[in-house]
């Protein structure tokens, strides 16, 4: 059967309302003296404390990570909290591994399998260029498997078609660093000027180093609970944040077989449209956004694909400050991948952490005014996209 790529398809049917009741982060950075399980369990303890939920009351856990650190790392991490015998599922979905674990946790609770679920993710990303394929892949000889190379192709094309100047892309990184400087968990807290961003060394022209996210280590965790079970577990309802949409898609064919076009909604748009339909909300209702800014161009294209800004205009919106903390589309308020860094398995749940923190009005110096509806979008290889919408 033919399916148009931009139509929402196979929208799952949610059951009962589900709330995020606790979030936790291990700082992002480099931690040579802590193994992956230690980072992960640290974030879980923080989330349990934040939720006021006992570990013995968690009946299922989903763990996002990508790089190999031995088998069943999720079980190893959680064994330090006590062997409660619950199902623990290890999830690999590239850069969307964490947000995929969160998506699975949501559906496990919404459909009634469990009242509570833990989603957590951790990563220790090695230094150097990130590749998708295995070392034996033909793409290593063809030269096409280069994550930042792909972003650079899109950026060059976007500049050609929209007339966006290099300074607009640098502004994405400047803004990310400003937000990150207000966040004690960020990998990179130093701020830069537009000139310093453009003057940093080239990674893949026209992308300079400071427009590419650092590869990082870190962990993030979230505890979710069915709304109708909150009182049973004595959970503070006033700090609970509702999950209004949880959507996950993989690729559809775009007629080209690669996705480096200037206007490239096809990866993200299906998940976004599903999320808007599921939540009954539209782009105009969203007043807080976390998107996958692995490179500066990524933030602009995701904002356009989410229909928050018309195609080809995100660079102007960025230059005008509309995506800053004080703008009308505050984006990547915790610093995003560009300042937080990008531990793959943790990133998607880090976005949930920031959205929840903002909606609870607990974000301190980076608090966005009137944050009621927050959207978190995470991309991964395989054209994976997750879009979650949270409301308070």
């Amino acid at each position: 059967m033919n399916q148009q790529s931009n139509q929402p398809v196979n929208l799952p049917r949610p059951g009962r309302d589900v709330m995020v009741v606790g979030v936790g982060l291990h700082p992002f950075g480099r931690f040579p003296n802590q193994d992956l399980a230690a980072l992960a369990s640290d974030s879980v303890v923080s989330a349990l404390q934040d939720a006021g939920v006992r570990w013995q009351d968690v009946p299922v856990a989903y763990f996002g990570h990508v790089y190999y650190h031995g088998m069943s790392v999720g079980e190893t991490a959680l064994s330090k909290l006590g062997l409660t015998g619950i199902p623990i599922i290890n999830v690999e979905n590239a850069c969307s591994s964490g947000s995929t674990a969160f998506w699975q946790a949501y559906w496990a609770v919404s459909t009634g399998m469990f009242d509570i679920a833990l989603a957590f993710g951790a990563e220790k990303v090695p230094s150097g260029p990130v590749t998708v394929t295995s070392a034996e892949s033909p793409d290593r000889y063809i030269g096409a498997d280069h994550m930042m190379g792909g972003y650079a192709l899109r950026m060059r094309r976007y500049m050609e078609e929209t007339g966006a100047p290099a300074t607009a892309f640098a502004q994405v990184a400047v803004k990310a660093r400003q937000n990150g400087s207000l966040n004690p968990f960020a990998h990179r807290k130093q701020t830069y000027t537009i000139e310093e961003v453009l003057g940093s060394r080239l990674v893949a022209d026209p992308l300079t180093l400071f427009q590419c996210c650092p590869t990082s280590e870190g962990a993030a965790a979230a505890i979710i609970c069915a709304k109708n079970a909150l009182s049973r577990y004595n959970i503070d309802q006033t700090r609970a944040v509702r999950i209004a949409a949880a959507c996950l898609t993989s690729g559809t064919y775009n007629g080209r077989g690669s996705d480096h076009s200037a206007f490239s909604p096809y990866r993200t748009e299906p998940a976004a449209l599903q999320a808007y339909e599921m939540s009954g909300l539209g782009p105009e209702d969203v007043n807080l956004v976390q998107v996958h800014d692995a490179a500066s161009i990524g933030e602009m294209q995701q904002l356009e694909a989410l229909r928050l800004i018309p195609y080809g205009e995100a660079w102007q919106a960025t230059a005008e400050g509309r995506t800053a903390l004080t703008g009308d589309i505050p984006t990547n308020t915790d610093g995003g991948l560009l300042a937080m860094g990008h531990p793959f398995g943790a990133t998607g749940i880090r976005m949930i952490h920031e959205t929840v923190t903002q909606l609870r009005q607990e974000a301190g110096p980076r608090q966005v005014a009137n944050a009621k509806v927050g959207l978190a979008q995470c991309s991964g290889a395989g054209d994976v996209t997750t879009v979650h919408i949270l409301t308070k």
Binding site: M1, N2, Q3, G128, P129, T131, A135, P138, R140, Y141, I142, G143, A144, D145, H146, G149, A152, L153, R154, R156, R157, E160, R201, L202, V203, A204, D205, P206, L207, T252, Y253, G255, R256, G257, S258, H260, S261
Partner: protein, 145 residues
């Protein structure tokens, strides 16, 4: 004779010059043409497919210069990575050779070229597909100088 870097995407002609053609399929149901062999159509999931050979030329859709190569890259650093739009629709990413970075322009005509590359950590070679400016681009450049 080097083997094709990926027999699913590059069919060698078996001649001494090491020439070849990019291959894929055409879907007889939805008519889409896809680069690389497959079992089912990536667009409509039909199995009613026929093999196709693609044009050996296309248009430069975008490009970058890779300054920090991925592990296992056997070629020079930096190298130019080009995205070429084939007239049949698919886009094909590969190294661009035979042109200076400063002479690259989106929209240039490019043509396929096959080159042997060393397999990392072995004496073997593989035939890889690359792009270079077509002769018309080169003669225009000469005329402009």
């Amino acid at each position: 004779m080097p083997a094709s870097v990926d027999p699913q995407r590059l069919k060698l002609n078996g001649d001494d010059e090491v020439t070849g053609v990019l291959i894929g399929f055409r879907c007889l149901d939805c008519r889409v043409k896809v680069f690389g062999q497959a079992t089912f159509c990536q667009s409509c999931a039909s199995s009613n497919l026929e093999p196709v050979e693609f044009s050996d030329s296309g248009i430069l859709f975008s490009y970058t210069i890779i300054r920090v190569p991925p592990a296992g890259w056997p070629g020079p650093v930096p190298y130019i990575l080009g995205e070429i739009a084939l007239p049949e629709g698919p886009h094909v990413l590969a190294e661009v050779i035979g042109i200076r970075e400063s002479d690259l322009n989106i929209g240039m005509h490019m043509e396929l070229t096959i080159q042997s590359v060393k397999v990392t950590g072995s004496d073997q070679e593989k035939a890889a597909y690359k792009w270079r400016p077509s002769n018309t681009e080169l003669s225009e450049e000469k005329a402009n100088q």
